[in-house]
Every structure is written in C-alpha cells, then in structure tokens.
C-alpha cells in the first residue's frame, strides 16, 4: 500500500508544475531555464535522446556546416572509433545534470577528446607536432562543430587584413516593403478603446503605420478556440503573425526558450547572469525590448539590453570604443551602420547564410553565435575587423570582459601556421 501511495504521489507530482525535486543534478547554463519541462529532452523510458537535442539544435548545426555530423560516424568503417567514443549521440559529449564534469559549451568529456580519432595528426600536419590535445579546441584554432571561420583557406584569404577595415559598416537593414500607409485618422481600434492619445501618436510615427499595419493587426487576436477579439495587451504570438523569423530566433535563444517550452516567460529574476535588481520582476516577450507603439529598434539594440543586464561585459559597454561609435552614429556624426550596439554583435543582421533567406534580417537568437565565440567572426566581427585581430580578440577573456577596451593580450597562431604551411608547399594557392 505504501508503495502504491508513493507511486501515486510521484505521478501527481510529475503532473504538477513543480518537478524540481526530480532533477538529478544542476542543469547546464544552456538548459536550466527549461529544466522543468522534462519532456523537452526526455522520452519516457528512454531517457534523454539525441532526437530531442536535434529538435532545437539541428538548424544551428546545419547552418554551421557541422564538421562532425552523425552521418560521418554511422559509416561501418568507423565502428572501431565508435566503440571508443560514440560520436553518433549528442549525449556522449553533452551529459546533462552533471555540473561537476561540465565544461564550456556543456561538454562533459575531457578537453583532449580529439585524441580518440586524431592521434596521428602530426603525421599529416607536422606543424602540430607536440601540441597538446587539450589545446585543439581551446586555443582559438578548432571547434568540434563549427569551423567556418577557421579553415586553412579562409585563414589565408583573410591573412593580410588590418585590425580595422577601411570600410567598417554593418549590413543595412532594408525597410519592409510598404503597403498603403495608415494615419491616426484611419486607425481601426474600437471607438474609445485607446484612451491615451500618446499611444496613437507613437504608433502613427512607426514603420508599422507607414506599412499599413493598423491597430487591429496586433490587438485583434484569437485566444485558444475563441473567436478573434480585441485585447489590450497582445502577446508575442501577435507579433509572430508577421515576424516569423524574428519569433523563431527569439524562441531559440535564452530570451524566449521558456515560452517555446510551454513554461512562463523568462525573467531577470530567473537568470544566472548578473541582472539589475530593478529589473528582477520584468518578464520577457517582444514588447520587453521593443516598447509597444514605438518599436524603437535603436533603443532595443543597446539601452534595452542594459535595462536588465548587469554583468561586467555589459557594464563596461558605455566605456568601450564600440559605444563611442554607437553614440557618434546616434548623434549623426557618423554614417549609418558604423555604430556598434549590443545587438550589432549579439543579434546580428544576417543574410541568406543563416536562415536560408537572401533578405537581411536580425537574428533574434542572441545565443546563436556565442559559444564557441568564433561563430561570431563571420556574421559580426568581419564586417569591421580583420580576421587575425578578431580571432585574437575573441580568445582574450579579459578583453571580452572590458568590452574590447584595449588590445588583445593573446595571439593565436592560426594564420601564421597557415602561412608557414603555404610557404613550404609550392602547390599552395
């Protein structure tokens, strides 16, 4: 009877929102927000399976031209390797709830794991003789998955670039094609709904009004099975109607992953990073950064972030050369696209390279290019900086903490090694 009661109790508990008591250990920084949505990763009686990982990470891996896709390891000729290290499964390298062995990027294997398959690398690459295997992925040279900014020909192509390019501008974001503009006199809110004329005035000055997006486009929404009706506070689903790509990015990053998992919205009070105490009770959806009715993207791209984020990197931003450029652009003293806000790096403007679309859009997954941070090189750094400087800067944790005020204290030899190899080989391009 006691057993039955215990099982019943557990079952009731599992069905409740409070599943924290079943967590076997602290969840990694990438997943802790959704740790109570157990079925995001776990399948009953199967544990955590790679298919669950791929639901969220597949697109990212494909866009990153994964250097070690599962398909490379399912070949029977690699059976011997798989017996030593089953690289066909994500959870071989990324075990959750094991903080005592979890390293950067959620890797739970020793840092010299490359040795399993590349122990003879020095025979192919004599320059790698005597290099420690725990330095492959920690020295700014190689990544297990995404090596798009680190391969030899890419290094050679960008070998002689200066620290700052002569034209240092981010890609311009074209305004969406306009439908028929609407103005305040033709707004379609139900009579008397909008009590505050300031809201109407704000909306009328936005790209929304200029593109014919009237009040009802956002405020008249369906709720569950109910018919569409006016709501004063539309959620992110309303924005998603037109901004699918942005919503997908938001849902894939740490700002929106809780909502995507069916949990409540993320809040600074739940964050592991330092946050401003005044922002603790805020919650995150589109309107948190894009103030409703003004949708000021410039504010969302810098000051909006600093409303909440209070880590050292964020706090150092306003003393950084990047902010000086941002302010100069804001004050009209520098050309469009020359300033560097938080979003310039963390929500970059991307083209077809990411997302399969040739249109320029803002990637709203602010975590997509963070780990390993070399992922940021192509989509962000190379707009303004040379490759060598970018690799060095991203390999210097102190420089990152000071928000790039100063110069890199480290030098990564990737380009030097590529040049030496090319010089030694007459067939090199």
């Amino acid at each position: 009877m006691a057993s039955i009661l215990a099982v019943a109790g557990i079952a009731i508990k599992l069905q409740s929102k409070d599943r924290g008591m079943f967590l076997p250990g602290q969840t990694s920084s990438g997943h802790y927000q959704i740790e109570l949505a157990c079925d995001s990763c776990h399948v009953p009686f199967q544990g955590a399976i790679s298919d669950s990982c791929m639901k969220c990470h597949q697109t990212d891996l494909a866009e990153g031209e994964d250097s070690h896709p599962k398909s490379k390891f399912t070949d029977p000729r690699n059976a011997e390797r798989i017996a030593r290290l089953d690289a066909t499964s994500c959870v071989t390298c990324h075990v959750e709830h094991r903080p005592e062995i979890t390293g950067t990027m959620g890797v739970t294997l020793p840092a010299d794991v490359c040795f399993y398959c590349h122990s003879d690398i020095a025979r192919e690459r004599p320059s790698h003789q005597n290099m420690a295997f725990d330095s492959c992925a920690s020295a700014g040279c190689h990544n297990f998955h995404d090596n798009r900014a680190l391969y030899t020909d890419f290094l050679l192509k960008h070998q002689s670039e200066p620290e700052v390019l002569s034209v240092a501008l981010v890609t311009r974001r074209p305004r969406r094609t306009s439908a028929t503009p609407v103005d305040a006199s033709r707004r379609d809110d139900p009579h008397g709904t909008v009590a505050d004329p300031r809201l109407v005035e704000e909306w009328a000055s936005t790209a929304h009004a200029q593109s014919g997006v009237n009040c009802s486009a956002c405020h008249v929404v369906a709720s569950g099975s109910a018919n569409k009706a006016w709501t004063d506070h539309p959620g992110y689903q309303s924005c998603e109607t037109c901004h699918k790509s942005e919503s997908q990015g938001f849902s894939g990053g740490r700002h929106g992953m809780r909502l995507a998992a069916g949990l409540g919205p993320m809040s600074p009070s739940l964050a592991r990073l330092p946050m401003n105490s005044s922002a603790k009770e805020r919650t995150l959806d589109c309107g948190s950064c894009h103030s409703p009715h003004t949708f000021d993207t410039r504010r969302a791209a810098a000051d909006g972030c600093l409303d909440c984020h209070a880590d050292r990197h964020s706090l150092a931003y306003k003393d950084s050369p990047h902010f000086a450029l941002w302010r100069a652009e804001s004050e009209g003293r520098a050309p469009d696209g020359s300033g560097v806000g938080c979003a310039t790096c963390h929500l970059p403007r991307v083209t077809g390279e990411t997302g399969g679309s040739s249109a320029v859009r803002v990637d709203h997954n602010q975590n997509a290019n963070l780990r390993p941070n070399e992922k940021m090189i192509r989509s962000v750094c190379l707009n303004c900086h040379g490759l060598g400087f970018s690799i060095d800067a991203l390999a210097d944790p102190v420089l990152i903490e000071t928000n790039f005020r100063g110069r890199p204290a480290r030098h990564i030899e990737s380009i030097d090694m590529a040049l030496r190899k090319a010089a030694a080989n007459p067939r090199s391009k």
């Binding site: 011997e80 890419f154 080989n425």
Partner: protein, 201 residues
C-alpha cells in the same frame, strides 16, 4: 542467411531489396550468389551492390562531365572545395560524399564511401583490410573487387569499384591540391575506389 531490407523511399531500390529478401527466403543466399538473373532467383548482395554502384557511377560521371567540366570550360562557374564561400559548384567528390551522408541518414541497409590510396583528406584513406586490398586491386586491374568483412561485430558484403579520372577537372584538382600525396594523375587512371557495404544478417 539473408540480406537486410531497404527502407529508402526510392522505388527502384526498394524493389531490389524486396527481391533480395524473396531470394534469401526462397533459395538461400548461397544459391543467390552464383550470378543468376533477378527474374529467376532474386538478387544477390553482389547484384545489389553492382546496381547501386551503376547509379552512383552514372550520376557521378554526368555531374563531373556535363556540369562541372562543361561549365568550367565555358567559363560559366567554377567548382571549388569551399563552394559555399566561393559561390561555386561543389567538387564532384563532395557531391558524391554529400549524397552518401544523406543516404546514411535515411537507411542503415547499405552504405557507400569514396576512398583512395592517395586521398586529399587523410580520413578517406583505406582503413580496413578489405579497403586496402580492394583499393590496391581496383588500381591494378580496373575491375570491381568483392569480399566480406566484419566491422563492429557485424558482417558486411563489401564491394570496391574503381573510380576513374573521367574529366580534366578530376586530375587537375588532385594534381594541384597542396594536401594531395600524388601529383601525376592522368586521364583514365584509377584515382580511388567507391566502397559499397551491405550488412548481412
């Protein structure tokens, strides 16, 4: 003993697999292995491998000759190892490998790879004894090599087919590549081999 069933959606391959299963059940693998026609006694692993390779080889030759070589000669577009960055065509070997990787995501019932004794990427050098013997044999005789091998505790029928330089693009790329261990390939020469594996249960 029987060969495994195919799960690929390709109707032709499914038909081959079905015939192979019928063969295995009705006559046993030994009887199937003597080269009888499909109509009389089903399809052997050898016939299945040969058929798969016939498709692979044909597509590969056509892509190499009619797409890469032709468009390069007409100065329309180049093929490049870093084809995405270079906004170029994938090299024929990359095209082949991408297909192989996609197939491996769809089925475990067969597998294929492009290997060479002189591979640019050293991961594509022969690894198993059968691969070594097979590649040496196809280079020496320019005809297929068949064997069986056990990998990871599973038995495979393994066929190795000569991969011949059919276009200037093949030999130019390999002869000029800094990571190539050989720089004197000639047209018509066997540069490597296509390895097709079919699990046997």
């Amino acid at each position: 003993m029987k060969v495994t069933l195919m799960k690929t959606p390709a109707h032709g391959i499914r038909a081959i697999a079905f015939a192979a299963l019928v063969c295995a059940i009705a006559t046993g693998l030994a009887a199937c292995g003597k080269g009888e026609s499909a109509a009389s006694s089903g399809i052997t692993p050898k016939m299945m491998a040969d058929s798969l390779h016939a498709v692979m080889e044909s597509d590969r030759v056509i892509y190499t000759k009619q797409v890469v070589n032709r468009l390069q000669q007409e100065n329309v577009i180049r093929a490049n190892e870093h084809w995405k960055d270079a906004k170029a065509l994938p090299l024929p070997a990359q095209m082949f490998r991408m297909g192989s990787e996609m197939v491996s995501e769809k089925t475990k019932d067969f597998n294929y790879a492009l290997l060479s004794l002189w591979a640019v990427n050293k991961q594509n050098m022969p690894k198993t004894d059968v691969e070594k013997a097979g590649l040496e044999a196809v280079v020496a005789k320019q005809e297929p090599y068949y064997s069986e091998e056990t990998l990871g505790g599973k038995k495979y029928f393994t066929a190795v087919y000569p991969d011949v330089a059919v276009a200037e693009a093949c030999i130019n790329c390999h002869n000029d590549h800094e990571d190539s261990p050989r720089h004197d390939f000639k047209m018509g020469e066997t540069m490597g081999g296509v390895v097709v594996r079919i699990p046997m249960i």
